[in-house]
């Protein structure tokens, strides 16, 4: 039996993959075979359903823009200078958002803010929760001072971490980084979404298509205790994001809400993302930031 066939047998039987299996998967030149294994794992968990969320992004300063009513999440971007300003902005956004979930900030920035304010992270997060915040927008696991403690603090303060991410390309072995993510989830148990492709793109040296597909597939196979493997539609673009759906991803993040005229030669974002998902043979289902399915 080939190594791939043995790994496929283990996956079908829900047997854990060994470190040797993980290294075999990471080093294979058979990208399509790897993608197929990941796709099978994804289908076992999610069938052919692919979710997507339209996110309206808001900056920390300035008057609130007219925000589209059809966004599934309103997200406050940026590192707040003070807790007071963060609370005020969250309150402003929540008051306008109505039923739309509001997410804000990077957990790494909130760690730093808590230290600046002389508060525990939990205390700071509770203040933000009191201001109406529901979701911490992202937890970049490679940038957190203490990932376990910080994620637990978010959970205990009543906030949900919307996405576990990699801020940049993982230092060292990607397999090791994924094993660490799986270990983190075993400790905290509250993560629902993992985004394995780096949020930040290095100008002039973007990640390659092979690397992206490999990382998504490995994430699906090695981080089998986080339900959703997500790809950022804005950063990675419709083509790569769509291919990632055939390699283990089941959710598309940061689809822009329809606002303003649609560029020539393009559909509106909702139709574009639905069309791309359907072209892979999967069923698109829109969701909001709370993972309520919107249809």
């Amino acid at each position: 039996m080939t190594a791939f066939a043995e790994i496929a047998r283990k996956l079908d039987a829900d047997d854990p993959l060994s470190d040797a299996d993980a290294l075999d998967l990471a080093s294979t030149q058979d990208l399509v075979g790897l993608a197929e294994l990941a796709d099978r794992a994804r289908r076992r968990r999610h069938g052919t359903q692919t979710t997507f969320v339209r996110v309206a992004e808001v900056s920390l300063a300035g008057p609130l823009p007219d925000l589209p009513g059809d966004a599934g999440e309103w997200c406050l971007r940026g590192a707040p200078a003070t807790l007071e300003s963060a609370q005020a902005r969250v309150q402003q956004l929540v008051a306008r958002a109505g039923e739309v979930p509001v997410s804000a900030f990077s957990l790494a920035d909130l760690e730093a803010l808590a230290a600046d304010e002389g508060l525990s992270l939990r205390a700071l997060l509770e203040r933000l929760r009191e201001a109406g915040l529901e979701l911490v927008a992202e937890a970049p696991v490679d940038d957190l001072q203490d990932a376990r403690a910080s994620i637990e603090a978010a959970n205990m303060s009543g906030l949900t971490v919307a996405r576990l991410t990699f801020g940049g390309e993982p230092r060292g072995s990607f397999v090791r980084a994924l094993r660490d993510v799986a270990a983190l989830q075993r400790q905290v148990g509250v993560l629902r979404v993992f985004q394995p492709l780096p949020r930040a793109v290095v100008a002039g040296q973007p990640t390659t298509g092979y690397a992206d597909v490999r990382q998504v597939a490995l994430a699906r196979l090695l981080v089998d205790n986080i339900d959703t493997i997500q790809v950022d539609w804005l950063v990675y673009g419709p083509k790569l994001a769509q291919v990632a759906l055939t390699a283990g991803a089941d959710d598309l993040d940061r689809v822009p809400p329809a606002a303003g005229p649609v560029p020539e030669g393009r559909r509106n974002p909702r139709d574009e993302v639905r069309w791309n998902i359907e072209a892979t043979g999967q069923q698109p289902v829109e969701r909001n930031g709370r993972f309520d399915l919107l249809g």
């Binding site: 399509v32 002039g204 973007p206 291919v243 030669g265």
Partner: protein
């Protein structure tokens, strides 16, 4: 005819019929198509070499009477931003191409009624005189037909004259979809019907020229018509063996009369994979990074492609329709090696020229593709005065004071 039985047939390297190819195209899972196409590629290229060429795409004129509905590049006769490149401009572009290790010009342009056959002959002869070893991969079947009509000479004679003047090979542009129903809807049957395109290539191959073949999909064609296109190419290749490579790309809709939206990345990979399986007599399939971007362009190597196309240096046609990706040699090689393949430079005939040029000498990085001319440059080349214009605006242009760039 189950997918499994068709896959077994493809794995065995047996020829697929049209209905069989269509069934695979529509029904085979993406991963299966990829594996089959990759296996077909590996049978032809077991050394894991992926080739690329350093050349430059030069569009000598954007004035065109064909008016294809999917084209955003053309300008009508008399348009203020219509241009014809001068010979000196083209020499400069060749110099720049040679400086970065380039070996040929891919020279194409609009069907300009004011450029007679003699202009092309003089240009080709002049280039060959100055740059004897530099290759001219020039024109396309529709351009040859245009020259045939303009000069009232048979296609075969036009090809012969161009070869004598220095033409080395013909790119496979203008094929779009080789089905006349589609060509009528795209308004490109006037520049060449499907049979006419095939006929020019037949003449070219019989004249000793090698050519490429292309397919632009994602406009109005059906799945059956995409397959029909591939079968026409396969049939001619059986007859002449003259095609060196096949390139497919998705229609780019911005700024075109046709409008619409672009086909998806997965559609591209499926189309490429099926092309590899159907075109069993084509050695080489090129990735289209210029329309798909670097990431999906690289992923093509897992779906049947064995070549990363050209560094290009300059590109105007697809850019006009909204695609503006750029990959220089460093980036192409990085992507080839990252995919586990070995990069090799080649010429148009797919003869290997060696390893990456930038590893032999210093080559400046290129982060944007060049354009035909700088914005605002509307000069009329001096030598145009020597060629009679057919259009009124062309004649008026020749009467104006002329200038050199």
């Amino acid at each position: 005819m189950t997918i499994d039985s068709l896959a077994a047939k493809a794995r065995a390297g047996e020829r697929l019929s049209g209905p069989e190819a269509l069934a695979l195209y529509r029904g085979a899972p993406l991963h299966l198509l990829g594996r089959l196409a990759d296996a077909a590629r590996a049978r032809l290229h077991p050394d894991r070499i992926v080739t690329y060429i350093i050349d430059r795409n030069v569009n000598y004129t954007n004035v065109c009477v064909a008016r294809c509905r999917f084209c955003a590049f053309y300008r009508e006769v008399g348009a203020s931003d219509g241009y014809v490149l001068g010979f000196d401009e083209i020499y400069r572009k060749i110099d720049e191409t040679i400086a970065v290790g380039g070996v040929q010009l891919l020279l194409q342009g609009g069907h300009n009624p004011d450029l007679p056959l003699s202009w092309y002959e003089d240009l080709f002869r002049a280039i060959k005189q100055r740059y004897p070893s530099f290759r001219l991969h020039a024109l396309s079947p529709p351009e040859v037909i245009h020259l045939s009509r303009l000069s009232r000479l048979p296609v075969a004679e036009v090809v012969d004259r161009l070869v004598r003047a220095g033409l080395d090979s013909i790119p496979g542009g203008g094929a779009e979809i080789l089905v006349d129903r589609v060509r009528r809807l795209l308004h490109c049957d006037g520049k060449a019907t499907a049979d006419e395109w095939i006929d020019v290539m037949r003449h070219a191959h019989r004249a000793g020229l090698r050519t490429t073949a292309t397919m632009m999909y994602g406009t109005v064609e059906t799945d059956e018509e995409r397959i029909a296109h591939l079968l026409r190419l396969r049939d001619l290749q059986d007859e002449t063996g003259g095609f060196t490579a096949f390139i497919t790309w998705s229609y780019q809709p911005s700024h075109t009369a046709l409008g619409g939206a672009e086909a998806t990345g997965v559609d591209y990979l499926r189309t490429l994979a099926v092309a590899r399986l159907v075109l069993d007599n084509f050695d080489n399939l090129q990735a289209s990074w210029v329309t798909q971007g670097g990431k999906v362009g690289q992923l093509s190597l897992a779906f049947g492609a064995n070549d990363m196309g050209s560094v290009m240096i300059e590109e105007n046609v697809v850019r006009a329709a909204g695609a503006s990706y750029c990959m220089d040699e460093v980036e192409i090689v990085r992507n080839i090696e990252d995919a586990g393949f070995i990069p090799q430079r080649r010429n148009m005939h797919y003869e290997r020229l060696g390893g990456p040029m930038f590893r032999e000498r210093e080559i400046p990085r290129m982060h944007n593709l060049a354009t035909a001319r700088r914005d605002g440059d509307d000069h009329v080349p001096a030598e145009l005065m020597n060629y009679p214009a057919r259009s009124r605006s062309g004649r008026r242009q020749r009467e104006r004071p002329h200038s050199d760039a």
